[in-house]
Amino acid sequence: MLVKVKPRTLSWVLLALVSLVALLFGSFDAGDPETSSERAASLAATIACPQCSGQPVSESSAPIAQVIRAEIKEQVDQGRSDSEIRAYYVEQYGQWVNLNPSSSGFDSLVWISPFLVVGIALGGLVLAFSRRNSDFTGIELTKDEEEQIREIRKVHRIDSEASQNDFDA
């Protein structure tokens, strides 16, 4: 027995498929591997220029910034890993040259607390929402009343998009 599929549902299934294929292809297709200068550039964007006001060495014309940029490129060519290179500059100048706050210890709070706060806010909303709904002692409508309301809504086009989006009245 053939399952009757509505064209609309088919359309949605199709677009979901298309999106998934595109996403998977785009995420896993190797593309060009990262060159050493690209890696050096992205590293340089995370190291602060010691003589500036918080700008990364990739965005400063200060002499020390130029020097560090060049040295990062050399260290990448020498085969050092990202974390080794970052650790070197932190060793030489202090934790503050790492523009990426640490993800361990006290500093990890800056990464975690937004999620905590959003979680608490959502939790509070869900709580308030469910409490309101469970407190609801609504009046049940009769069939006739429901029909009447449906008619009124239809005549005044209350459910039309135009009415829903009328913000100028």
Partner: protein, 187 residues
């Protein structure tokens, strides 16, 4: 008290903490790193702009075989032809290079001044020394920028004084004066 009002009070308390935090902050600035002082000086070797060579390790090894009066105190001056502070301190460096340093009991100690060029080029360095004088070794090659970073240099001028035993005796950020540089030198 309702949930809303207690939430309000909590928010007020947090805000007070926030304002107190802001009120107690001073002006922010990047602090130079003085961790090096008292630690063994990072070793380095480099070519000079005139084709010579300098190796810190050679000096330190030689120091071990010498009596204190003959041991060499090395002043490493991080310098650049574009830096205005370097012009200001140049006379002080000339004094250090020509006169050397005296210990507290009047004995003349052995000193050596080398400049390490920072983000610079030979032509501009030659022009600088032609104009302002001085004939000590100025180091510049592909590795000298790394040397600067190894010494946590943020900008020129910075000067590091290395004791004969290889420990960093002091680090001066900014233009030096002769007195500040030689203070504490003993032999």
């Amino acid at each position: 008290m309702s949930l809303g009002k207690s939430g309000l009070i909590l928010f007020a308390v947090v805000s007070i903490g926030f304002v107190v935090l802001l009120a107690t902050r001073g002006t922010q600035s990047n602090q130079p790193n003085f961790d090096l002082v008292g630690q063994p000086a990072p070793l380095f070797q480099a070519e000079t702009v005139n084709g010579g060579e300098f190796d810190l390790e050679d000096v330190l090894i030689a120091n071990r075989a010498l009596i204190p009066k003959d041991q060499v105190w090395v002043a490493v001056n991080f310098f650049a032809s574009w830096c205005t502070g370097c012009i200001i301190e140049h006379d002080e460096l000339l004094a250090f290079h020509n006169e050397g340093a005296f210990s507290s009991n009047g004995v003349k100690c052995n000193t050596k001044l080398v400049s390490v060029a920072f983000n610079d080029n030979k032509k501009d360095i030659d022009r600088f020394f032609d104009k302002y004088g001085g004939d000590w070794q100025v180091l510049l090659d592909e590795g000298t920028n790394r040397v600067a970073i190894n010494y946590s240099v943020m900008t020129a001028p910075e000067t590091v004084l290395i004791a004969p035993n290889g420990l960093v005796a002091k680090k001066i950020v900014g233009p030096i004066t002769y007195e500040k540089l030689v203070a504490g030198i003993e032999c």
